[in-house]
Symmetry: C2
Subunit: 144 residues, 2 copies
Amino acid sequence: MTQKHDFDLQDFLPYLLNQAAEECGLEFQKVYKQRYGMLRTEWRVLFHLGRYGDMTAKDICDRARVHKTKVSRAVSALQSRGFLKRVQLEQDRRHERLSLTPAGVSAYSDLQAVAADYDTRLTANFSAEEQRNLRDALRLLARL
Amino acid sequence: MTQKHDFDLQDFLPYLLNQAAEECGLEFQKVYKQRYGMLRTEWRVLFHLGRYGDMTAKDICDRARVHKTKVSRAVSALQSRGFLKRVQLEQDRRHERLSLTPAGVSAYSDLQAVAADYDTRLTANFSAEEQRNLRDALRLLARL
DNA sequence: ACTTGTTAGTTACAAAAACAACTAATATCC
DNA sequence: GGATATTAGTTGTTTTTGTAACTAACAAGT
């Protein structure tokens, strides 16, 4: 019986993407975990608010493509640790505007700098054009 | 106070990689989940054995960079559903050689074809050179 | 032979994620 | 105005993962 072996697992894009994402995520994860005890979704919520300004949990769900239960729990955790505060909107009391506290802003600034650094290091071996092509391709694949 | 906003979250490579991996993994995941009730690690173990031939759990751990507990559970699950069998090696009874059953080979063939198809569709919008560059970059980032 | 160390794999328990069911507020249709 | 549907967000339960401790087999030095 002859096997086909059309392609290698290492050439399968979903697999490759996953391996790369896992490898690249690890180091940064250590930082926000050890320095602030944050989970991945918590860091993402923090980053959204820090980078794009106040918004509701729903906004974050849509922008980051994270399920609302994950965001809900991340928001609770961040609030209980004093990184953000919630204000119910008067015009529609279902929504609540989330905004970072000074501690939140400070954590964001710190982590954002680490992230920027790390990103630079990750792509140090790529030319400017290669970097652009890579990010373009990834954005396309991610439908962002 | 002026914010720096060095970069966008969507330009942060670990984030981008993650979003792309998640998006691209979804569709294929549905297939192996619905068609064979497999988990991600189970599909990977199946693929390793189908594509690269019999090997031990440890070999799979090393090649796929998966923790041994995950592989152990995946192997048990695949075995209990009749997709693979284990044979303890005589020269060293700590090892066991894993090999696919006919049902396992059949599932592999099927899923492998689906994967090949899907990969082709994913990269349909890229030129041959762009595809090569993308995979090269990802392999580099994944340290594969 | 016998302590010490290492390796392959499993098991048990804790953390995190996925999924579904729920509440409360608003919108819509009759 | 009142039943019905939607929407934002939460809570509870089940899967899945991560971590650490464990067993069994072997290796190596003394």
